[in-house]
Every structure is written in C-alpha cells, then in structure tokens.
C-alpha cells in the first residue's frame, strides 16, 4: 500500500512540475527585460532612499539636470539645454561664491504631460532642506548653496548661488533627480516659502514655517510617496511593486526624450518594460538565467563567473562580462600608533602583501591593482606610480633601518620606544566577510615570517566602524567607493579631519597633502586639477598611510541575444540602453 502511495505522490509531483515548466511566456515583439536584484530597494524616492539598488531604478524614472554618461564617464546635460553658465558673484573675488545659470529643455515633461519647469527644480531643492525628512544627505551636500531662484519671465530658467568655489558644486547643483511639484506637494505647502527661508530654518524662530516643514515631511516621508505615488520625467513610468518579489517599470508611450536619444544615454528607452526580480541568492539567479526566466544577472561572485565560463549550452548561450566598478579594498593604518608613525614600517607592511597572488586566488583575476582612492579609469589616475612590490626581504631590511630587530630572540621584532622595549605586535580589524578575513590571513602569514606578531579581530560591521572611527585599531581591512569624477579628498586625507571622531581615521597628517587638497577643492579647471591629483597620489604612495589593494570588477552574465555595453558605473550596465540583437 505504502509503495503504491509513494509512486502516486511522486508521479503527481513530477507531472505538476513539468506543467509549471511549460508555462514560460513566449518572447514578445516588444522586449520585456528581466533583471535580477540582489537586495530590495528601501524606497523609490531619490531624496529618501539610501540603497544603491534604489538609485538604479530611480535613474529610469527620474532625470536630473545633468548626469554622468555611463560610457564617457563625464557629467553631461540631460534636462538642461547646455552646460551651466558659471560666473563669479563678485568678479573681483571668485572664492566668495559662484552663480550657476541653466535652462531646462522645452520638450521635457512629467508622466502626466505637464512641462518640467524651474519651479519643480526649486521645489526639489526646498524639499532637500527640510530638516524633518528621514534622510538629510542631500541637505548636507548642499550646505554651500545659498539661493535658488527661477526667472519669473522664463520659468525654465534657473539661477543657483553658492558661497564658495568648490569642485563638487556643479555635481551637487545639477546631478540630483528633479521632482514634480504638483504631484509631491499637491497642497502647495512649500510654495509660499523661498529657498533661503527653508534653508535657514535652524537659525530663525519661525513657528509657522517649522510646523509647515514638519507637516510636509510627514507627508513626504510616508511610504505612499515611496511605493505607490512615484512619478518622474524619465523614460520609464512606475507600474507596480510587489514587495519582496518584483518591481515593474513600463516605457512611456509618448516619451519626450525619443528625439534626443543621442544627447545622453539616460534619454534612451529600448526595452518595452523592465522587471526587476528580487533574488538574493546569486546561484539561484543564475539557474533562472540559464532557464531564460531572467535576461541579465549582475553581482555574481568571481568563483561563479569562472564556473560560467564552462557553461556551454548552444541553445541558450550566455554573454559574460566583468566591467570595473567604482570601489576598492584597502587596509587602513592608524598613523597615530607609535609603531606605525614611521613610514618605513608602514611601507614594510605593505611589502608583505602579495597583491598579485591575492587577485589570482581570491578574485580569480577579476580585480585591478590600485594605488589610491582614484579609479584606475579616472583620467587623473597616476599610472606612473609604481605599486609597492611584494618583497619580504626588502621589508625586513626596511624594518631594520627603522630600528626593529629581534634582540631577545623570541621570534618577534622589538624596539625601544620612549624608553620602553616594545614588540612589533599589531592587530588587524576585519568584518566577518570571508574575503575580508582571507585578506587579513594572507598578510598575517607573511608578517609572522619576518617577525611581526599580528592578530586578526573579526567584528560585525557596526563594531568595525565604531572602533575604526574612534581610532581603536592598528590596521583595519575596509572597502570604499572610488571616484570617477571630481574627487574631494578632504574627509579622508586632510589633517583637519584627523583625530578622534574625525573622518580621517587614518590620522594621516601631511602639510603638502593638505595644501594640495586645499587647491584641489577650488580648481574647477579639469586639466589643472588632474595635475594636482597626480601629485596627491604620488605622495600617498610614498607615505603609505594605507595599503591600497585592488579595485574589483563586477562580473555579470546575460543572454547572448542582448545587445548592451558595460559601464564602470554601478551596476555595470544601463538597462534602458539594452536592446535585442537582430
């Protein structure tokens, strides 16, 4: 009886599965692109969202005045007719502030067909200043913007004033998505107030304005404006969001940007719809790709990428790509530690890391060695700087020069510092990720061979951040974002930011670097600024305040029938530009 029952159950299960498999929809003439998302976006609301996956989708729905071209990697006009006209407010002193004048394109419209005007931009800038918003990142970035006005005779014309000359001003002013005022503030709560009033709310006691801002923020923070009412000026409109499962965008029927596809890739709209499927596990996503449920899967591991190279299904062939991404791994040295104050010691430790081997073994070759915080694709990346070689014998020699030797023959180098015999014993903080710990293990094994005692302390990320920020560390294994455009090194590398609570948690202090940074911050001319970046990178390499490891690539796999170009910008592709091969 049992055997019969088992047979019946098994047959029923297999039949049921086979029926499910046959239910794959046929390919349609208008292509519907299916993409995997590893994490669900927190919101679709450019000011409030905090996750990179959210900005990927927001980029399809909202457009900024100008945006980075994913292929040329330059900030180019999108909504505005031309690059901003920049003039000094006081012609006698540029550093007192600049005036940015821009004009929005006549054709630009919102989802409902109403024109995009300067008042929408002004509204966006006012919203960003509201202190009651759940995310005030935009407000912090706009600290140097003093006023935003719209020409009453030409509502497409905008003027923005700043109180200084700063390399990131153009990006901050033009590279933020613009919101439609009539959708996001239907009661016109912010309309009666100008930009300055809202920006300076902290310094003035205006109870009415404060209450209005509170009321507006309550409305704007509500999940309705992040999950249901999502309306922009981009090529795609929001269709639906099924939580924890998928988000669907649809190409606009009368997309105003059709005529301007050559102006900027953000204005292109090839797929008829884009569906983002939430699939946290990369392996699961890859099986769905092989089964043609998905068209493109990014964020796969280098190991999975290597395995895919052996995939040889002629029926459903795949394209494999591994573009560079704007991030890098590094080991921060706490330059305030007595042993690490000497740059020879820092350099010696850097010489103990076999980075080529690391790229080979941990990244399966999918990473590029880097020498600093600028991306190897940055026009000012200093290719003349020679990376520190892997040279344990040279390291030992440098340590000896710095006064470190094993005087008591216990296998650990020592030195008398301020009258106290000190062992060269260091700890290295890591996150709990396998990669981070593997990097630390490689360094530790080489360090111990030359007599440096090294202990690895894995921590949860909040604890790792807390200890590093507080300067409670010797070495810390970290990752950060690399810059492709104007890069302001102040936070990480200026002496002013060193010390407890400072963002320069390396505690790196160098007068020459400080002076270079001060110049970089105000040099708007790109080629002049690039010269300064070259010097800056050279000094970092000489001083070794950190051990810069690698800039990883982001492996991705897609169906062969897709026609697409990869980009250094996250997530490595630009979905609205993807089409089907003829």
């Amino acid at each position: 009886m049992i055997t019969r029952l088992l047979i019946v159950v098994s047959v029923a299960v297999i039949i049921s599965c086979q029926q499910g498999y046959r239910d794959i929809p046929e390919e349609e003439a208008a292509y519907n692109l299916s993409i995997r998302l590893g994490f669900e976006p927190d919101r679709i609301n450019p000011i409030l969202s905090r996750q990179v996956h959210a900005s990927q989708i927001e980029g399809m729905i909202f457009l900024p005045l100008s945006d980075y071209n994913p292929f040329s990697l330059r900030l180019e006009p999108v909504l505005i007719k031309d690059y901003p006209k920049i003039t000094a407010i006081d012609p006698a002193d540029e550093e007192k502030g600049l005036r940015y004048e821009m004009e929005i394109m006549e054709e630009a419209t919102w989802d409902d067909g109403t024109p995009v005007t300067g008042y929408d931009y002004l509204f966006t800038m006012k919203v960003a200043q509201d202190p009651y918003l759940l995310n005030t990142t935009w407000k912090n970035q706009m600290a140097h913007i003093t006023d935003v006005t719209v020409d009453p005779n030409n509502p497409k014309k905008i003027t923005v004033l700043t109180n200084n000359k700063y390399i990131l001003s153009e990006e901050v002013i033009t590279n933020n998505d613009v919101y439609p005022e009539h959708i996001y503030d239907p009661d016109q709560l912010l309309k009666p107030y100008n930009f300055q009033q809202i920006k300076n709310i902290g310094s003035q006691a205006d109870a009415d304005l404060d209450s209005t801002l509170h009321q507006f923020a309550t409305q704007f923070n509500d999940e309705k404006y992040s999950r249901e009412i999502i309306s922009g000026n981009g090529p795609y409109e929001f269709e639906e969001w099924i939580p924890k499962q998928q988000i669907i965008l649809k190409r606009k029927e009368n997309w105003w940007g059709t005529k301007f596809q050559d102006k900027h890739p953000s204005l292109q709209a090839h797929p008829a719809s884009i569906t983002y499927h939430l699939i946290p596990d990369a392996q699961t996503a890859l099986t769905s790709l092989k089964d043609q449920r998905l068209d493109l899967v990014a964020d796969i591991t280098p190991e999975q990428f290597q395995e895919l190279k052996n995939y040889n299904n002629q029926e459903h062939p795949l394209t494999l790509e591994a573009p560079d991404v704007l991030s890098y791994y590094f080991i921060a040295y706490n330059n305030d530690r007595p042993a690490l104050r000497d740059k020879r010691v820092r350099r010696a430790i850097s010489m103990l890391m076999d980075i080529e081997n690391l790229i080979d073994k941990l990244f399966y070759g999918l990473a590029t060695r880097t020498i600093g915080p600028l991306s190897p694709n940055h026009p000012a990346y200093n290719h003349d700087v020679k990376p520190v070689p892997f040279d344990p014998q040279g390291a030992l020699k440098l340590l000896a020069e710095a006064g470190w030797s094993d005087t008591n023959h216990d296998g650990i180098l020592d030195k008398t510092i301020e009258g106290i015999k000190t062992n060269l014993s260091l700890s290295i903080l890591t996150s709990r990720s396998q990669l981070s710990q593997d990097v630390a293990i490689i360094l530790k094994s080489e360090a111990e061979k030359v007599g440096i005692q090294m202990s690895i302390i894995p921590n949860d990320v909040p604890k790792l951040i807390q200890d590093t920020e507080n300067g409670d560390y010797d070495l810390s294994c970290l990752a950060s974002v690399q810059s492709i455009a104007a890069y302001d090194p102040t936070n990480f590398w200026h002496s002013e930011k060193a010390g407890p609570g400072g963002t320069n948690y390396f505690n790196f202090r160098n007068a020459e670097v400080d002076s270079l940074i001060d110049k970089i911050r105000i040099t708007l001319n790109e080629s002049e600024r690039n010269e300064l970046y070259l010097k800056f990178q050279q000094i970092l390499q000489d001083e070794q305040p950190a051990l810069f490891l690698v800039a990883p690539k982001t492996p991705l796999a897609a169906l062969k029938k897709l026609n697409f170009k990869t980009t250094t910008l996250r997530p490595g592709y630009f979905e609205n530009t993807i089409s089907i091969k003829n």
């Binding site: 299960v13 599965c17 202190p131 946290p280």
Partner: protein, 454 residues
Amino acid sequence: MWRFIIKRVLLIVPTIFLVLTLIFIIAKSLPGDPVLAAMRYQNNSMDFSSDMIDSRTYNIAAKNLNLDKPEFYFSIVPSNFPSDFYKLSPLQKKFMTNLFRQYGNAELVFALTHEIDEIVSEDFSASESIKSTFSRFIPDLNYLSSTIKGTLNTSPNTKLSQILDLIQHLSGLGKRNNSYLPKIVWHGRDNQYHTWIRNAFLLNLGASTTDGQPALKVIFSSFRWTFIINFFSIIIGYSLAILIGVYAGWNKGLFDKISSIIMYLIYSIPVFWMATILVVFFTTSEYGSWTNIFPSVGIWNINSSDSFVQMIGKNFPLLVLPVFILSTNLLAFIARIVRNSVAEEKNKFYVRHARTKGLSEQYILWYHVFRNASFPLITLIASVFPAALAGSLVVEVICNIPGTGRVLYNAILGQDWAIVNGIVMIYTLLTVTGLLISDILYRWVDPRLKWDGA
C-alpha cells in the same frame, strides 16, 4: 481540561514578557549608535566618511526612530550631571564624561557642550571649518582653544569668544576632586523599554528601519508564504514518516534495511546542500534534458491584483521543490524515530497479550502500538514549528520564496531590528504554542496523566 489549558495559556504572557525584555537588552547592547547607523547609507560598503551631523539633525532622526526617550524607567548618572543627559548624542556624552573626568565641574562642562552644539547646529555665521571641528566634540581643551584663537585672528565672533572664555575658565580651575556619587534620575513611563513592551503587546512593532514600512505588515505578508510551504511540508513529512516508520518498525526485513539506509543518507545531508544541488542540477537542462525536472525556483507568476489563493494556484508547481526539500528533511528525521519506537513497542508484553486475545495485526498496530509509539512524535511537535521555520530560512533564500526566512535573513544583514524582533516574537509564540499542543496531546493520548498537571 479547560482549566489546564487556560492556566497554560496565561503562562505564555510572562514568557513573552521575558523574551521581549531579553530582546530589548540584546538590542541595546549591540555596538554602534542605531541613530547614526540609520542615517548612513546602507549599501554594505564600509565607506563611512559621512559629513558632520549636527545635533538638531541627529535629534530629529532619533525622534523618527523613537530613540529620543530615555532607555529605561530610571538612569544612574553622577550626582552633578544634568537629568536630561540621555538627550545628548553619543559623541556629546563622550565629550562631557571625558572633560568631567579631567576637570570635574559638570555644570561648566555641560554649558561648554551646549555652547559648542549651538555653533554646530544653529550658528549660520560660523565657518564650515570651525563647525566641522566642533562637530567632532574632541575632549581636548588645548586643541579647542588653539582652533578658536586661530579663527578669531581672522574673523572675530562674539559667540566663539564666549566659548573661549568658558574654556579658559574651566582649564583655570585646575583638576579637582570629582563627585562620583551616583544619583538616580526617574524618567517615568515615557521611556523606550515601556514603549517597546506596550507596543509589542499591542502588536505595534514599529516601522522597518530599512524601508519605513510597518514591521507587522512586512512580517505577515511574508509569513503566508512560509506558512504555506511549511504547512505542506509538515503534513507530507509527518504522514510519509509515520507510514514508512511504522511499516519498517513493524515488519523489519528488507524494506526496513533499505529505508534505514535511505533515511540515514537523507538525514545526513545538510538542507542548504540538498537545496543547492537540486536547484543547480534539476531546474535547468544544462546537464541533460532529463535533469530539468523542477521549474525555476522562485515565485514568477504574480500579479498584484491576484488574491493570495490565486497566487498559490498559479505558482503551485513552483512550490513543489521547496516543499520537497523541507518535507524530505523532516521525513528522514521523524521516520527514524517512529521506526525505533514501533520496533521497541512491538516486543512488549501487551502486544503478545493482544495477539492471544485474537485481535487483528492491523488493529494491534494502529490502535495499541502506534498510540504508545507516538510519544516521541508528540515531544517533537513542540519543536517542529520553530525548527521548520529555521529550516525554511535556508530553503527560502536558495529557492527564492519571499517568506519570513528570507525576510529575516535580509533584516539581519541590514540590521533592521524592528523586523528581526517581530520575527523572534513570532518564533517565541510558535514555540510556546507547540509546547501547549504537545502538553494537551500527551494528556489526550495517555490517560494516566491528569489535567490538573499531575
């Protein structure tokens, strides 16, 4: 019987209360400031070079997260500290306690903290450079006074001069004996713990710190998928395990040997490994068309206008693989227990006695032997619900089912404690419910146990 059940149900309340208290203590003991963590980008990058965060912005963020209140009904601080010390940001607290240790005089130290904070948060005439320095609250008076003097040399500022006077006055007092006598500050019921317990009992778990959605909504919309796959896997797993276990234990012989080997084999395979192997090898035709047995994992046929029952209907074939994995794991474990239990009961005196009375083998097996052999099964019921949910965590991630397990996995990665706490509460409820059910079943199956608890 009802008295017993009501008594046991009432005991659930203090159990949940203790679990909630424990969750609160653990959440408060975690490293890092939850307000700062929520204010930062949550993109798993360790780029934390955030710009300065003034106290006004910090306090608004804390209020949004309901973290602006004192943590408990009372707090203990040095006797000369202000009663609203809890309102300060972690950086300000550190600044104040450090200076207090160095110079004593809590009143002056507090005044200095307040003045510096005003410059950072509200003084728009102050330069970005001085604001940036002040926002770090470095507890070094020499450093602060030299920075202020440097600024005053170039641009005079009344407020900064006042702060400089305060610093000079404080350092001029020299080190004096600190009063470490503690004082207890009573905060009343308007505290985080009280709010947490009250809201939890009212099923108001707060909003997810990741996406701002009500935690309860997120948990329940995912729980239905977890419930469905676990419901089917428990029913299938238990039914088949009982049939196989009873048959193997009663008849022994070749079936027992073969089923034992297979069950041991399945039981020794970790769920994540089995799930991965099945997904990789048996959902595509990559390894031959015959291997394409199961459809792609995940829930694909969805439409927001469909009811949940319609979604289940459309996606039923897609649920077969996760149910298969979960029930197979359950089956292997339970079948072994039933088999051993039946084999043990089979040789007991009462079985021989029943045979001599002329009862049929089927009647003896199911009415006498199985009843006595089912005690281990009842014990398992208490743990089967939380165990099934724990197992489904792995299966949901690998099979891409949008259930509670996957939500918990992402919430832990994103440190979304509102969600984590809510799911832990549900697990607690299920565990105590499981215990209650097993207690009732014990008494139902074994008349020797009394309903008064004896």
